[in-house]
């Protein structure tokens, strides 16, 4: 009898968890509240920049590289250098979701869209029996993965940000996320930017390329990026401190307009008033694609962090794991995919009563999961966000000699740790 795993939340981490659980031999259902998978991944697009390259290569060597290969195949640009970042791959946000859905279908993952989970039934203080969607359908499983994210809902964006900016999360239409861990009675924590100020704002806006001058679009299509100095009146270093994406909280981003080509023109700032944007040459007719009110604000995140261990098991629960932002103030698709992969794989081990896998700290991924968990325990740690691509963890990664842009070195490291193909090994 195959173990039954339910993953709640169809963002990158949930998709990765579903694929990993399936590869490990489970029967897997993925429940997503909207009509599309990938959540914030529908408007992201940046892969393999800085230490993410190492993480992607390690994940591939561990047998958990399906989604990295997929985003490579759907890249608009490869090997892009932009301020503070090297060798980025920019995937096409318009093409990647159908490809992911097709991959899940071919692997036999049962995907339930427009299926918003709103409650949890427990069979004991530490055991979830089933989850309930808003239409009162009940989904039972042996083990659950909470990949519901931490951004929004609107009440949080209203309270801690500048209100609902009508972003790709589409809370008004599909209803807000509901935390599975919190519903199960787990006490969650919230990140603070400074003491008493909760959450962090998503760090980029997307501009419809069609609304930009030909010269800007040409540069984006050709090189994947466009950088222009900002007029002095628009330079605001204060905005850097509210960003969730601290790898882009560099002075270059306060003093320049930095755009990347992900299908949209991705503007690397949380928000910028439209009239200010239109005062810049080449942007006179600009309009936002995500969030629609990118002149006013952006989504607020990191407001529902689950306590967890190095195996990504949620503390206080015996059959609940977590991934992506639920597992810490983690930034980015790569970070979501690697935590999702570990959570999905360990969910199957849990269901089979096998020892859980902890990734060695001799790998960048293992160090990332362990290091961020240590940091989550302190108030200071909750003021930081963590990514392979920059800020504190990338520095830490370099100091531990874990950063390498060499695929072979990453592969060798994984093999030496005895983790090669661990995620592609069937357990049942």
């Amino acid at each position: 009898m195959k173990p039954k795993i339910i993953v709640i939340g169809g963002g990158w981490s949930g998709v990765a968890a579903a694929i990993a659980a399936k590869r490990a031999g489970a029967q897997v259902s993925l429940l997503e509240r909207t009509d599309m998978l990938l959540g914030a991944g529908l408007v992201g697009g940046i892969m393999r920049n800085n230490g993410r390259y190492t993480a992607a290569e390690e994940a591939i060597a561990m047998g958990g590289g399906d989604l990295f290969k997929l985003t490579d195949r759907h890249a608009r640009h490869k090997d892009v250098d932009f301020p503070g970042h090297l060798h980025a791959t920019l995937y096409d946000v318009h093409r990647v979701e159908p490809a992911v859905r097709s991959l899940l279908g071919s692997r036999g993952v049962s995907v339930h869209l427009e299926c918003r989970v709103v409650d949890v039934h427990k069979s004991g203080p530490r055991l979830i029996k089933s989850v309930i969607d808003e239409h009162t359908n009940e989904f039972s499983a042996d083990v659950f993965v909470d990949a519901t994210g931490t951004s929004g809902p609107m009440g949080n964006c209203s309270r801690f940000g500048n209100g609902c900016a009508m972003c790709v999360q589409r809370c008004p239409t599909y209803g807000p996320r509901v935390s599975i861990a919190a519903k199960a009675g787990v006490h969650e924590s919230q990140a603070t930017k400074t003491p008493g100020v909760f959450g962090a704002m998503s760090g980029s806006c997307k501009i419809a390329k069609e609304s930009l001058a030909r010269s800007v679009v040409g540069a984006l299509n050709r090189t994947g990026m466009f950088v222009a100095p900002l007029p002095a009146s628009l330079i605001s270093s204060a905005k850097l401190s509210i960003k969730a994406c601290q790898q882009y909280a560099l002075s270059e981003y306060a003093e320049h307009l930095v755009l990347l080509d992900t299908g949209h023109a991705k503007l690397m700032t949380p928000f910028l008033p439209l009239d200010s944007l239109r005062s810049i040459s080449g942007f006179q007719r600009a309009r936002y694609a995500d969030p629609y009110s990118g002149g006013r604000g952006n989504s607020v995140r990191f407001l529902a962090l689950a306590p967890r261990d190095q195996f990504l098991q949620v503390e206080g629960m015996d059959n609940l794991l977590c991934a992506g932002e639920k597992a810490g103030t983690l930034i980015g698709h790569t970070e979501a995919i690697v935590t999702g992969t570990l959570a999905g794989h360990n969910a199957v081990r849990k269901a089979l009563a096998m020892p859980l896998v902890g990734l060695s700290r001799s790998t960048a991924i293992g160090e990332f999961i362990a290091y961020t968990n240590e940091k989550m325990k302190s108030a200071e740690g909750l003021q930081q966000s963590y990514t392979f691509a920059g800020s504190v963890f990338f520095e830490h990664m370099k100091s531990k000699s874990l950063y390498t842009p060499d695929s072979l070195a990453a592969k060798t490291r994984v093999k030496q740790a005895g983790l090669d193909d661990i995620f592609s090994t069937r357990l049942t």
Binding site: E134, G152, M154, G155, S158, R159, G163, P172, T173, P176
Partner: protein, 317 residues
């Protein structure tokens, strides 16, 4: 620390949300407006917290009493009468959906005289609204007097039907069982489905009103009307037969709680897959979730029945 149980509020997302309860940190739907730190609600399609912030933390669009004039009063039995009232167009339009109700009192009387009334008919052409009223005490008696020709009408309220969501889903056939003064409300519901070309069987009995009068608001073809035997207090045999013969997927009880209880039992037994709805018989005084007269238990927490719509399957009449 009290626990948070978000309850679906019938006013959530309406013109009247956020309300007094938000100002007081007592919202039943939004955890933030109830004084909790986390964000959780029974999602209605809009965010009460965001609206509250937009309105500078004031409940702005509160219901007012509107002076409205009598068009006609028609006594249909010794204890039951119908009043047709001319109302502002914006107000009558808000009473069109089933489940709407208002509080009505003689215009020169204090608010103690407010009577909760559901419309029997809303006429868009002349902005009049018909109400059926049964005299059961001093408040309804005051409305019945010929000297009362001008009213103070407060509304619109929306929680007049328990299981309102069940009415909003498409149905193949609707069975409405109506007795007494609830025939008025039943006629309004029948018209709602007739306008949507949904077949309706309306079973009517005179009940304590001593008259059958629902037909006056209906046209030929709106519904198949079945008269219930007036010598049988409960008509359980008739209703059992109707549930079977109509194969209705939506069954609505308009009448007293004893009828609700019987219909709920029969529906569970004969047609467990059908949806049900019931006229809300809780004692309504303020309609704003404040006075507590309509408090019911049975949901996750005690709830004001004027605001909160518990799922009908947990209701005990």
């Amino acid at each position: 620390m009290r626990d948070w149980h978000s309850l679906p509020c019938v006013d959530a997302g309406s013109w009247y949300c956020p309300c007094y309860l938000a100002e007081l940190g007592q919202c039943v739907n939004c955890s933030l407006l109830a004084g909790f730190d986390h964000c959780e609600c029974a999602w209605c399609g809009s965010c009460a917290h965001a609206e509250f912030r937009w309105r500078l933390e004031k409940a702005e669009n509160l219901r007012q009493s509107v002076r409205s004039e009598l068009v006609l009063r028609n006594h249909v039995s010794s204890n039951t009468f119908i009043i047709k009232i001319k109302m502002p167009t914006w107000f009558s339009a808000r009473l069109s959906p089933p489940g709407s109700f208002v509080f009505v009192r003689p215009h020169d009387h204090p608010t103690h005289f407010d009577v909760p009334l559901s419309p029997a008919q809303v006429s868009a052409s002349d902005s009049t609204v018909d109400f059926a009223v049964q005299v059961v005490g001093p408040k309804s008696r005051a409305l019945s007097l010929d000297s009362c020709t001008s009213f103070a009408v407060r509304g619109a309220y929306f929680g007049g039907i328990l299981g309102l969501n069940n009415l909003k889903q498409p149905a193949k056939h609707v069975l409405i069982v109506a007795k007494g003064v609830a025939q008025g409300c039943a006629a309004h519901i029948t018209r709602y489905f007739a306008d949507r070309k949904t077949p309706v069987t309306l079973a009517v009995g005179q009940g304590s009103s001593d008259a059958v009068f629902a037909r006056r608001w209906l046209s030929d073809g709106d519904a198949r009307i079945v008269m219930l035997d007036k010598t049988d207090d409960h008509n359980s045999g008739d209703i059992r037969t109707l549930i079977r013969s109509t194969a209705s997927d939506l069954i609505i009880s308009a009448g007293p709680d004893i009828q609700h209880r019987m219909l709920q039992t029969l529906a569970n037994e004969i047609a467990p897959r059908s949806r049900t709805a019931y006229t809300n018989n809780a004692l309504m005084c303020c309609g704003e979730g404040i006075c507590g007269s309509c408090t019911v238990s049975g949901a996750a927490a005690p709830a004001r029945a004027c605001k909160v719509m518990p799922p009908v399957n947990i209701l005990r009449f």
